[in-house]
Each structure stands twice: as structure tokens, then as C-alpha cells.
């Protein structure tokens, strides 16, 4: 909570907050960061292996292998989420499992599973992009802004 708001609180509430802060279990920040780093790194390593597999055995270049790799990773995550394995990975790795594209697949399928009881149309269909929707909206929007800036710089900046 911001310090300004804290000063406006009655004294016993302030006292309680100080007491609560003392008793609160501290989060192992460094440990969590390391876990996220290694889990995220591991997922990226798997992605790199899939990408190399596509380059060696199919007609994909380094440029074009990105799309099938992403699709494969999302598909695998969807299966793992359905089997309940990805939840455990997420519990352990935190942001490390949410930031790579696998987090996107997990967000889609977990929302679908959660709302299945409400029916397939209004439940699954209406809620499947509840979490992943903002990712798509802001992803597309920020890509548009970046492309706009790049176009302006290149066209008018003379680079």
C-alpha cells in the first residue's frame, strides 16, 4: 500500500499492519527467480530442439521454422494442461512457465476446462479466450504501434 494512504489510517489499523508485516512469511524471491529462469530456459530449449528438428527433417528454413514450432509447443501444452501436468509445472516454475508461448496454450485450455460445466457454447465458447484474449488484443495492438513507428522512421527518417 502507498505510504500516503497508510498515514490516513487510524492508529490501531497502522499497528495491525506493522504486526502483520512482522508475522508475514517472506517470499523466497531469489529462489523463485531462479526457478522461473531455469523452467523458462528449459521450455525454450525444447522449442529450439523442435525448431532444429523441423529444419533438418522438413522443408523449413530458420526463418520459416518458427511457425510450426510455436504451433507444436502450444499443442503439447494443451495436452499437458488437459492431463493436469502443466499445472504442476506452473506451480513450480511460476512466470517461467507463463511467459513462453506455452503459457498462452495453458491459458486457453485451462479456461475452457474451468467453464465446461456451463455448457459448450456459453461456457467453453464464451470463456475460452477469457485469459488469452487480452494477450491477443494487446499483442496485435502493440505490433501495430511498433510497425507504425518503424514505418515512420524508415519512410521519413531516411534510414
Amino acid at each position: 500500500m502507498a505510504d500516503k494512504k497508510k498515514k490516513n489510517l487510524p492508529p490501531n489499523a497502522q499497528e495491525y499492519q506493522a504486526f502483520q508485516q512482522q508475522r508475514e512469511v517472506k517470499r523466497p524471491l531469489l529462489k523463485n527467480c531462479l526457478k522461473a529462469f531455469f523452467v523458462g530456459g528449459l521450455i525454450c530449449l525444447i522449442g529450439q530442439l523442435i525448431s532444429t528438428f523441423y529444419i533438418y527433417y522438413f522443408n523449413f528454413t530458420e526463418q520459416t521454422a518458427g511457425n510450426p514450432t510455436t504451433a507444436t509447443l502450444i499443442f503439447l501444452t494443451m495436452l499437458l494442461t488437459g492431463f493436469g501436468v502443466y499445472d504442476r509445472i506452473g506451480q513450480f516454475g511460476g512466470a517461467g512457465s507463463a511467459v513462453p508461448v506455452t503459457g498462452f496454450g495453458n491459458a486457453v485450455i485451462s479456461a475452457a476446462i474451468e467453464h465446461k460445466t456451463e455448457g459448450f457454447i456459453l461456457g467453453v465458447g464464451g470463456n475460452i479466450f477469457k485469459v488469452a484474449g487480452p494477450v491477443i488484443v494487446y499483442g496485435v495492438f502493440s505490433a501495430f504501434i511498433v510497425a507504425l513507428i518503424k514505418t515512420i522512421i524508415i519512410e521519413w527518417g531516411g534510414f
Partner: protein, 150 residues
Amino acid sequence: MQRIIVIIIAGMFFLLFGCGTDTSKEQQAKQDSTIDNSNSQIDQEPSIKAKKTLNEHEGITEIRSVNNTKTLVVAVKVNHDERFTLKSLEKKMTKKLKDEFPKLDVEFSTDLKIFLELDKLKKKMQTGSLTEKELNKELDKIIKLSKKQT
């Protein structure tokens, strides 16, 4: 806490050992790439010359090049730290090769797939089973592949 310190120290060791590059192997690979014993009917002189030119650049570790009468296709593997400046390296090397071979269409690539395909083609040429027509067809295919966008 102690466990975390152990993990950090172990991680640092990995990083430090990872940074030491084995230069002798690199040199060997480079020298191998300059030897050319293809039994092809098509003159591979420009390819050999291109290899010699590119060998002077330190960041390039392996080179494969094939040419026909119209085009010269070169693919290279680069040091991992050079990958940060891949675009500028590509630009520089393409210009260098174009200046050296003004009569040929030069295709320079750092893509692994193009490298693999050229390697395959080279091996086919070494066995001597490739006619000029087949070589032209294969090269066209590789050039098309290198120009594919996502």
C-alpha cells in the same frame, strides 16, 4: 539459502566454461571447407575463390558454396556471438562477393537449412552423379527456399 549459493556458483562455472572456445577445432573445420574435390562437369572456380575470400573473416566457421554458370550460392555457419550482428554480416559479405563476382548472381545465406542443402548437393557433386541440368534445378530450388518468408 546455502543451496541457492551452491546453485549460483555451479551456474557461474557452467557459464565460464561455456565461454572458452575451442579454436583448434574451428581452424580444422575452416581448412576442411577450403578443400574442394568435386568431380562436377561445371567449373567450380568461383565457389573456391568465394571460400578463400570468406575464410579471411574470423566470425565464419564453416562455408559451403556451389555455383553454376549464372549463380553463386554461399551458405556459412557463424560463431555464436556473431549471431547478434547477423544482418550486417550478411549485408557486408553479400556486397564483398558481388564486388568479386560481378558477372554472377550472388546468394549469401547464414541459414542452417541452406547450409545443409548445399552440403547435400556438394556431396552429390563429389560422387559425380549430377548433370548440369540437375545442378541448375537443385540450385534454383535452394534459392527459392532461401527467399521464402514466414
